[in-house]
C-alpha cells in the first residue's frame, strides 16, 4: 500500500505544478478535479483495505464532491461568463513553476524542522500538505481571474485535508463534515458570486475590481 500511497502523493504534487503552469481555465478546472479525486483516494490508501469504514465513506464523498460537483459548477459558471478562457497571471507561468519548486523544498524543510507526531504510514503526507497549501495561497494571490482564485482556494482546502489526515487520529466526524459542507457552500457561493460579478461587469476579472483603495 505504501507504493500506492506514495504514487498518489507524488501525483498530487504534480497536479499542483500543472496548475501553476497551466494557462487555460478549462484545463485548470479539470486538473483541480483530478487533484480532488486523488485527495479523496488518500484515506482509502491509508486505511489498508478496510473498504467499508467511515473514513472510506468520507473519501467517497470527497471524490464525488471534488471530482464531479465542483467541476460541474465551475464549468457552468465558466460557460455563463463567456469571457476570456485565459488564466491571466500576475506572476508568469515560468516564475510560478519556480515558486512551486521553492514551496516544495520549503515544505520538506519545514517538515523536518517541525517533526510533527504523524499518524500515517507515509512520511510524505505532511510535506505534500504544506506544499499544496502554499500552492493554493500562491494561486489565489498571483492569478487575476476570480475563477482561478476559486481553484486556488480548492487547492488550499485539499492541502488542509491532507494535513488533517496526517495529524488527527480518529478524525472527529463533525469536523470532517464541517470541511465538506463548508467548502461546498463556499464554492457554491463563489460560483454565484462569479455569476453576479460577471453580470455586473461583463467579465470575471477580479483585477479590475480595484476601484476600492485606501
Amino acid at each position: 500500500m505504501i507504493i500506492l500511497l506514495d504514487t498518489l502523493l507524488v501525483t498530487l504534487i504534480l497536479t499542483g505544478f500543472l496548475l501553476l503552469g497551466s494557462s487555460r481555465l478549462g484545463a485548470s478546472i479539470r486538473i483541480s478535479a483530478l487533484q480532488g479525486i486523488m485527495t479523496g483516494l488518500l484515506p482509502l490508501a491509508l486505511e489498508h483495505g478496510d473498504l467499508f469504514s467511515y473514513v472510506s465513506l468520507l473519501g467517497v464523498a470527497v471524490i464525488g464532491l471534488k471530482g464531479y460537483v465542483f467541476p460541474r459548477l465551475l464549468f457552468s459558471a465558466l460557460r455563463e461568463s463567456d469571457t476570456s478562457r485565459e488564466v491571466q497571471p500576475f506572476v508568469g507561468y515560468m516564475a510560478s513553476l519556480f515558486f512551486g519548486i521553492l514551496f516544495l523544498m520549503g515544505s520538506f524543510w519545514l517538515d523536518t524542522r517541525l517533526n510533527l507526531p504523524v499518524h500515517s504510514s507515509s512520511d510524505l503526507l505532511v510535506p505534500v500538505a504544506f506544499s499544496l497549501m502554499s500552492c493554493g495561497l500562491f494561486l489565489i494571490v498571483a492569478r487575476r481571474t476570480a475563477m482561478s482564485q476559486v481553484i486556488g482556494y480548492l487547492v488550499l482546502e485539499n492541502g488542509i485535508y491532507c494535513f488533517g489526515l496526517a495529524v488527527v487520529s480518529g478524525m472527529p466526524l463533525l469536523l470532517e463534515l464541517g470541511v465538506l459542507m463548508d467548502i461546498f457552500v463556499a464554492v457554491f457561493v463563489m460560483g454565484i458570486a462569479i455569476y453576479h460579478i460577471n453580470r455586473e461587469f461583463d467579465h470575471i476579472d477580479a483585477d479590475r475590481l480595484s476601484a476600492l483603495k485606501g
Binding site: E157, P172, L174, G178, A193, H196, L209, A211, L212, G214
Partner: protein, 493 residues
Amino acid sequence: MSAENTLPILILAPLIFGGISLLLRSARGALRFCAAGTLATAALAGITAYNVLRGGPAETANGWLMLDALSAQHLLAMITVFCLSSLYALIYFREEAADGRLTPKMAGRYGGLWFGSLAAMMLVLVSNSLGMMWVGVEASTLMTAFLICIHASPGALEAMWKYLLMCSVGVAVAFTGILLVAAATGPAGLHGMDALLWTTLMEAASRLNPMMLKAGFIFIVIGYGTKAGLAPLHNWLPDAHSHAPAPVSAVFSGFLLNAALYCILRCLPLVEAATGNEGWGRSILVIFGLLSILVAAAFIVMQRDVKRLLAYSSVEHIGIMALGAGIGGAGAAAALFHLINHSICKPIAFFCAGRIGQIYGTHDLPGLTMIIRRAPVWGAGLIISLLALVGVAPFSVFLSEFLVLKAAVDHSLYVVAALFLLGLGVVFIAVLRHIIAMAWKPAEQQAGPVKFSLPEALLIFIPLAIVLLLGMWIPGPLLKILSRAAQVLGGLS
C-alpha cells in the same frame, strides 16, 4: 426556564425566523418581522445570560453547548447590536421600500440572511467545541457576504468578493490551527469527539503538547485575525463596511469582528495554561493589537469617506481590545468593557452616517457640511458618537481606553503604552479635524433641515446617553460580569 434548556433554542429560533422571513411577501412586513424576531431572540438571550451570570456556566447537549461568563458577556453585546440595527433598518429602508428600490423579494432575502447571520454568530458564542465554533464563523462569513450586496452595485460586488475570498482563506487557516490543537491532544489521551471541547481541553491543559499548541495558536490568530480585522490582515474591512447598507455595516463593525476575536480569546487561556503562563500567547495579541492601532491611525489621517473612516476606526478599536486582552490582568477586564462601549457607540455612528449619506447622496467627507443644521438628529448623533469613539473624556470609551493604558503601565510595558498613546493621539486629532469641518464648514448650497421623528431621536440618543452614563458610573452588576468574564480569560483571579 434554566439556561440549559434555552441554549439550543437560541440557535434554532433565529433559523426558524429566517425561514419565515424568506416567505414574506411585503418589504415593510419583512423588515418589521426582522425587528420583532430579533427582539424576541434578544429577550431569550437576555434571560439565558442572566441565568448564567447568576448561576454559573451552563452546559447542555453532552457538553457541546456551553455558556459561561465570557460568552454571556459577548452575547449581551451581540443582542444589543442586533436589536439596535434591526430597529434602525426600519428607518433606513423606509424610503427604499416605499419607492420600490427594495423589492419584497430582496427584503425577504435580507431577513433570511439577517437571521442566518444571527444564528451563525449565536453558534459561535454558545458552542463549546472549537470545531463548531469554526463552523459558526464560516457560516457567518457566507451569510454576511450576501448582506453586503443586497443592492448589486459594482462597488458592493467588489467588496463582497474581497470579503469572501480573504475571510474564506483566513477561516481555512484557522481550521489548520484547530487541526494542530487537535493533534496537540495526543499526549493527554483525549480521543474522538470530545477532544475539541473547550472545557475538556482546559481541564487537560497541562498535559497537552505545548509546541503543537503554540503552532496552532499562531494559525488561529492569523486565521480569525483576518476575520476580526487585525492589521495587516484588514484589507477587506473598509470596503465591506463602506459598501454594505448601514444596518449591516453596524452589525459588521459592532459584533462580527468581535465574534472572530472571541474565538481567539477562547484559545488564549488554553495556550497560556499549557505553556506555563509565560505570557507567550498574550505577547502575540499585544503585537497585533498595537499594529492595528497604528495602521488604522495612519489610514484615518488620509480618509475622505465617512464610512471608511468608521471602518478604520473599527480596526483601531479591535486593536485596543486585542491589546487589552494581551496585557492581561486588569487589561483584560478593560478590553471587555471596551467591547461593550464600542458595540454601543459604533452602530450609532454607522446609523447616522448611513442616513446622512442618504440625505446628502454621498459619503465623501468634503461634501458633508453643516450636518447638524441639515439633519439635526443624525448630524448631532454622528458628531457625538465620533467624539465618544475617539475617547473624549466623559464617555465610557475614554474610561476603558484609560484602563487599558493603566494596565500597560502597571505591567511596566512603557513602550507599549507610549505607542498606544501615539496611535490614540493621531486618531483623535485626525477625526477632530473632520468633525469640525462637518459641523461648521459653511455649505456650498443651502438646503432646509430634514424632518425627523421622535423614535429616530430616541434610537440615537438613548444609547449615547448610556455610553455617557457608563463613563461616569459603572453599575455593580456590570462590574461583576466584567470581572467574571476576565477571570475566564485568566486575567483577574
